[in-house]
């Protein structure tokens, strides 16, 4: 899982009883016409959560007509309309050699919200992305993750993993997460990312105190567990609200200190300056009147 597929054409042969599982790869090999070819003896194979695009003949071909290849939750392209949107073979999407021997339902449709229950039992969380398609959201218990370096925060909804497919390599994706309940302003999104050195914080966008938050992930960069710019992002993280504010300090605990406030010297002098001004005016008036008299 998560490894780059470096072979071309990807023909899998004679793997009776040994399941070949391809997940979360880009399968896009225009020059060889087929994304992956499974020969007549292959069986128990799984091809899930992949970008299967740009293959002119078939995205997947299963030559073993005695079996059905599990190819659920793949992204085949954005072609097709209505209920056929994103379906293999529709509107220029990659197709399969047989809709009987390749099980591609459900397929990923860009902009379709995906949901899962939370690991803590707080309810259902929903995921969507501004580009590509979210797939396979899965709850992850906090206890399964390393504790070293973990932030001292609570994760009321536990953690989630999910995939984003149907994106261009190096794409920056905004994921919208609808949580079962509102989280306060100041919530952070944390994930354990071994190759990044452990626990890291993922940049958040929406953090306005409601139940909807947004995070930003980069294919092959921050937040992508496969670490490869391959058009697929695997993320695993969770929202952590800020720690509760400390209880108001009791009056007796207040320090016996205060502050020096800058003295506004002009304000202090103002009445005196006004008096001097007034005297000046009076003297001037008297002088003028005397002059006129003379």
């Amino acid at each position: 899982m998560g490894e780059e597929l470096n072979t071309y054409g990807n023909t899998i042969e004679n793997n009776v009883g040994a399941a070949a599982i391809f997940s979360w790869h880009s399968i896009s090999f225009e020059a060889y016409a087929r994304g992956v070819y499974f020969d007549v003896n292959s069986q128990d194979n799984h091809v899930n959560n992949n970008n299967i695009v740009g293959n002119s003949v078939y995205g997947l071909q299963n030559a073993n007509i005695a079996t059905t290849l599990n190819a659920e939750n793949n992204y085949w392209g954005s072609g097709g309309v209505g209920t056929n949107k994103g379906k293999p073979g529709e509107g220029g999407n990659n197709g399969v050699n047989s809709n009987i021997h390749v099980d591609y339902t459900p397929w990923l449709v860009p902009g379709t919200e995906q949901e899962t229950g939370t690991a803590t039992g707080t309810g259902t969380a929903k995921f969507n992305s501004d580009t590509g398609a979210v797939s396979d959201p899965t709850p992850i218990g906090e206890a399964t993750l390393p504790t070293a370096g973990k932030p001292a925060r609570n994760f009321p909804h536990g953690f989630f993993s999910f995939y984003i497919t149907g994106i261009t390599p190096n794409a920056i994706v905004t994921v919208t997460i609808s949580l079962p309940s509102a989280v306060p302003v100041g919530t952070q999104y944390w994930k354990y990312h071994a190759s990044e050195g452990g626990w890291i914080q993922i940049p958040m966008g929406s953090d306005n105190g409601d139940n909807i938050i947004t995070i930003t992930l980069v294919d092959g960069g921050l937040g992508d567990d496969d670490g490869t710019a391959n058009g697929v992002i695997l993320d695993q993280g969770g929202p952590a609200p800020p720690p509760p504010a400390p209880a108001p300090t009791a009056p007796t605990a207040r320090g016996v200190g205060g502050y020096i406030v800058p003295v506004n010297k002009l304000a202090i002098l103002a009445p005196y300056l006004a008096l001097v001004g007034l005297v000046g005016v009076v003297v001037s008036v008297v002088a003028v009147r005397k002059k006129r008299k003379n």
Binding site: T249, T252, A253, R254, G255, V256, G257, G258, Y259, I260, V261, P262, V263, K265, I268, L269, P271, Y272
Partner: protein, 288 residues
Amino acid sequence: MCVKTKRKHVGTKAQIIAMKEREKRIATTVFLAFILIIAAVSGYYTYTFLNQPRNPASPFKAAIVDHLSLTFPNQTFRETATNILKQAGYMVDYYPGEKVTVDFYRNLPACGYKIVILRVHCGIDPSRQSIAFFTSEVFRQSRYVDELLTDHLEWTAYDYPPPAGEPLYFGINSLFVKDSMKGRFSETTIIMMGCYGLEYPSMAKAFIQKGAKAYISWKGSVTADHTDKATINLLKHLILEKQAVGQAVENTMREVGEDPAYKSTLTYYLPEAGEQTAQDIMRNHKTG
């Protein structure tokens, strides 16, 4: 024509006489005004001289200046501190918050106290590395104008910026201690119980320059409960057990620890003051 000339002549003479009389009157008025001014000035200085606080003859006087009684009253502290001082033979004067005014501070050195316990709020301005002791005098436009303009007095407030409607209080700073306080301390030990007393050395230096022997206070902010507790322990060590200032401060810190909320510590100024004991204080007073 002749008549005219005569009249003119008579008129000129009369004018000259009148002018002379007028000049005499003016001279008399000026002279009287001068005498009056001299008398007023002499009277003022005589009054000031006669009313100047003097060192009372009685030895072993201590003062508890309880400005905090306005906001954090603690009768137990007052009674306990007074008892400790009295046990050691001190006469104790207690000043509640309302009495802690600018003029109170102004006259404090001349009162002859050997120990002054300042249970007072203290304001801080980190940008100027300056502190100021609160008085209970609310700022008024016409009061202490010269000392405000020459930076001998400050405006102090409990919060910053001061909330609308909250009064500003006059506060005394180190310049006030140096220049505006009258008389000199009698090798007094100053125990400044409020916050920030030794955050910067300027205030301690000013007291020492003004004749104080030692200045003990907190580096940082401190809570009322903690400073009350610490001061009682300090007084026991210093006054009853006759420990040196340094030893008393050290033992006090060991017993009460740093402030639980602000982590401040009790310390003293100057280092050599750490060797001084309560007996020294009394002895100095007797010989001095």
